[in-house]
Symmetry: C2
Subunit: 223 residues, 2 copies
């Protein structure tokens, strides 16, 4: 389903070059529940951003469903990001002027395939399952850190994506709340065959994963 | 050293009132290494913000070193925030246009009691101890999530505060990096008698703590 081939990501910082990813190759099977683990700064978010088509590699190719991403047209890419991929950001990236409800609803407004009644049903459903039914009207500044994280989770899942990229989705959650979120994701993985790709420091996620890929200093560690 | 007396914090949300803290009373001893634990949304950050003088209670009093905070003059409060208290925010709150070095240095520029040479020594020292010596020139947008968290940690500690308020300081760190940060804090607590008040979901912090205060739905749970 996902294939990363000899990917490099370099950043220019003044005169220096920072190599965030170096010759990374890996695959993710359809319906896999997979964790990417590694030290802070090792390249996990960078790799997730490339697979999630939020950023482009300096070298190498990314394949989503057999098609190379850089060969896709702008319309195909927009469609990929809207329908196939769901992204839960490490820093949430909620829209500050919108309420929790509106933040979850926002990407669905662009989906011509989702009628208004179904859209509202999904927003309500996902706010309930992440435990935020009573907080629908709160803006991000009126929410706790873990509540914002759960709005970001609900927003990504409500689109019913084929592949979910989850960048440390439990970082701001207590054990019990985090456990509930992971069970929800495991259930979606089992019932809908949704592919989950986590960047995580959470050992529970690693234990639940079908496979753990380890990264260090921009390179995959081959066991 | 710190006393919280019958504190309430209410927010108005449209016509409704959200009670984030309800009749909270607690104390923190000098040089204590203490954790506040509880579910997402239970009031931990709100309580830390009140003790850290970043916010004011709706009802009740906060005492820092025997003086009631609401009785302090603006100058006394500014001095308290600059010299006595160090705050590590759950969302880091770094200045986006400044580099890591400048972000750590920034609060120290206002300290007439710290000469330029000592200021530079401290900035360099704390960037080294949080593992960011090579990242001094990166801006926050050029840093990973855990690297930004560590800049926030270095910034709070470089002022040599008497009391550190740490809001989930290990949330974005892998086990090894997080362990290093906690050992650094434990050492400061032992050697300098620095008081640490953590909001945390991390069981390691709870295990290292002299005492764990549990909060749920805005109330302290009395064991
Ligand atoms: N400005 C606001 N208006 C309304 N409600 C608010 C506001 N700020 C916070 N709240 C509510 O107050 C409660 C406590 O928030 P707080 O940030 O203290 O929780 P927390 O324990 O730190 O949670 P987390 O572990 O998720 O960080 C939450 O339910 C939140 O929705
Ligand atoms: N725009 C940029 N310019 C320069 N370097 C960058 C930039 N963005 C990221 N980096 C560097 O790339 C490396 C990888 O970053 P990345 O965010 O992928 O790490 P991570 O594994 O997600 O870390 P964490 O666990 O702390 O979130 C880091 O060392 C970071 O400093
Ligand atoms: Mg990251
Ligand atoms: Mg909080």
């Amino acid at each position: 389903k996902v294939r990363v081939e000899h990917v490099w990501k370099e950043y220019k910082l003044g005169k220096q070059t920072v190599e965030a990813l170096r010759d990374v190759s890996m695959g993710v099977g359809e319906g896999e529940f997979m964790a990417i683990a590694g030290p802070s700064g090792s390249g996990k978010s960078t790799l997730l951003n490339l697979i999630g088509c939020i950023d482009t590699p300096t070298r190498g190719e990314i394949y989503i469903g057999n098609e190379e991403v850089s060969k896709k047209t702008p319309n195909q890419l927009a469609d990929l990001r809207a329908r196939t991929l769901g992204f839960i950001f490490q820093t949430f990236n909620l829209l500050p002027v919108l309420s929790a409800w509106e933040n979850v609803e926002y990407p669905l407004l662009y989906r011509k395939d989702i009628p208004p009644k179904e859209r509202r049903r999904r927003v309500a459903h996902y706010l309930v399952v992440v435990g935020l039914a009573d907080f629908a009207k709160h803006k991000p500044s009126e929410l706790s850190g873990g509540q914002r994280q759960r709005v970001a989770i609900a927003r990504a899942l409500a689109g019913h994506p084929v592949i979910v990229l989850a960048d440390e989705p439990t970082a701001n959650l207590d054990s019990k709340t985090g456990e509930g979120i992971l069970q929800l994701m495991k259930q979606l993985n089992r019932d809908e065959k949704t592919t989950f790709i986590f960047s995580t420091h959470d050992h529970r996620v690693m234990e639940m994963a079908d496979r753990v890929v380890r990264i260090s200093d921009g390179r995959i560690i081959v066991p």
